[in-house]
């Protein structure tokens, strides 16, 4: 459905100095009902990867591929700096309305998502009155409320507590099942989150950022079965360690 072909992202350094290759020869695709996790060490280019996939950043070479849609894909991006995407002058409920352009269906979903993530949420609070986890929950609730082709989430669970995190994973799964998003790609440092939600995990290496390995889980995203989950986590950690070693 959407992907990258031979993508290179290079940042020019100081005059006379070396350039920084953030991504090198990335070929990747995501299809309908895919949930893909991107993992890698800090600086391996995960955010750049998502930005190029979203069309927010042009690669230095290579291309972003859009096929079979016949139109511009609808993409939603939840930034790692989720705080920066909230409206400081709006209370949460008004902020949700503004963020979703007053689309009633999506606004209702966002409110329901937020109530699901954090029961009893304070909708009349301003963002600066919320904790970091609550702010992240707001951003996630809004992003998962939209009807899009591709949902991109950059470190969507980092600030959430254990209960909210489990609910967030369930919410992302629901987004696919309810067809609110055709595919989800998210970055994470947590093998547990990747194993719990994704069917496929792409492991990036550093310097330059390239795809070091790909792990596929049989049977798709798992909703439970702690033994299956445990096996996945162990396998994922081992592969990740290999990739990091080779970098």
């Amino acid at each position: 459905m959407l992907g990258l072909r031979d993508v290179v992202v290079e940042y020019r350094g100081r005059p006379g100095g070396p350039s920084l290759v953030a991504l090198s020869n990335i070929t990747f695709s995501v299809g309908v009902r895919d949930i893909v996790a991107l993992m890698g060490a800090n600086g391996s280019g995960k955010t750049t990867f998502l930005r190029v996939l979203a069309g927010l950043q042009r690669p230095s070479s290579g291309e972003r591929v859009v096929s079979a849609l016949g139109r511009t894909p609808r993409v939603e991006f939840m930034f790692q700096n989720y705080r920066a995407t909230l409206f400081p002058w709006h209370r949460v409920r008004a902020g949700i309305r503004t963020a979703l352009r007053g689309r009633d269906d999506e606004v209702e979903h966002a409110i329901a998502n937020l109530e699901f993530l954090i029961p009893g949420f304070r909708f009349d609070a301003y963002p600066h009155e919320l904790s970091g986890g609550e702010q992240q929950a707001v951003a996630l609730a809004i992003s998962t409320a939209r009807c899009v082709d591709l949902l991109l989430l950059d470190e969507p669970f980092g600030a959430l507590d254990v209960r909210a995190r489990m609910r967030a994973i369930a919410l992302c799964r629901k987004v696919i099942m309810q067809d609110r998003a055709k595919a989800v790609v998210f970055t994470t440092h947590s093998a547990e989150d990747a194993a719990a939600l994704a069917q496929r995990v792409v492991l990036l290496r550093n310097h330059p950022g390239l795809i070091g390995a790909e792990v596929r889980f049989d049977g798709g995203a798992t909703g439970g079965g702690s033994e299956v989950l445990s096996t996945r986590i162990t396998a994922l950690r081992a592969r990740l360690a290999e990739v990091v070693e080779r970098a």
Partner: protein
């Protein structure tokens, strides 16, 4: 009640210390007693002035000039700062000019403005509007620069046009910061209004009073006028908290300095 006392007591202590210092300096001869009236004499003179209808007219004219000049400054400064904040090219072009004129002492504009436009109300308004407008432009500019690129990118991905982004993000961002800008510009506008009263052919105004009392050595009235000018400034500052809509005041800009 206790809360009120806690808030007011430090102010009373500070003000009392200032008065005590004044009297001490007089008593020590550091301030010549003939040139520095007692605090009591200043207070008496102040009450005399406040009972004088002509004086109250002067207060009103200075206040009016301050507010009109500030309003004109806002009308020019807010959009200028916004354009600079939203466009790098505009910032590159206008920014150095704004910095130049902001660094220029406002009173240095006076001879040029008087030559070009005469010594009427228009010149007085410009003298107040230009520097206070440039100050407000700076707040407006930084309000726009503070808008996170991630928020803009998020909204553009959601299909908002540039105009919709300006309405949804930049306008509220400017309004969010504007109260602070207005409160910083108010004392400057008042100071320039007093200068305009002094030098730009005014028939009424506090500046005119100051010159007159200085020339005739009515020193208690001189210091009384200064004190009343200060109270006028403080009153305008306090009034801004009433006038500026509550919903524009948040934890970040709603508090007074104290």
């Amino acid at each position: 009640m206790l809360e009120m006392v806690k808030r007011v007591l430090p102010l009373l202590v500070a003000a009392g210390a200032l008065v005590a210092l004044w009297e001490l300096l007089r008593a020590a001869g550091v301030l010549a007693p003939a040139l520095a009236p007692t605090f009591g004499a200043v207070v008496d003179a102040s009450f005399d002035l406040l009972r004088d209808g002509e004086f109250l007219l002067d207060v009103w004219q200075t206040a009016r000039r301050t507010l009109v000049g500030l309003a004109v400054g806002l009308l020019g400064g807010v959009p200028l700062g916004a354009l600079m904040g939203m466009s790098r090219n505009v910032a590159r072009g206008a920014g150095p000019l704004v910095d130049f004129f902001r660094a220029l002492p406002a009173v240095a504009l006076l001879p040029a403005l008087a030559t070009l436009f005469g010594i009427g109300e228009f010149t007085k308004t410009l003298l107040i509007a230009i520097p206070s407008g440039l100050l407000v432009a700076t707040f407006s500019y930084f309000a726009c620069r503070e808008v996170s690129p991630e928020l803009i990118e998020t909204l553009e991905l959601r299909g908002l046009s540039r105009g919709e982004v300006v309405r949804a993000v930049f306008v509220p961002a400017i309004l969010y910061r504007l109260p602070s800008g207005v409160r910083y510009a108010l004392p400057l506008a008042l100071a320039l209004a007093v200068v305009a009263d002094m030098f730009v052919g005014a028939r009424h105004g506090l500046g005119l009073r100051l010159i007159a009392y200085q020339e005739t050595f009515q020193l208690a009235h001189l210091y009384g006028t200064i004190m009343i000018a200060g109270v006028l400034g403080a009153a305008m500052y306090a009034l801004s908290f009433v006038v500026i809509p509550r919903r524009l005041r948040t934890q970040q800009n709603g508090g007074a300095l104290w």
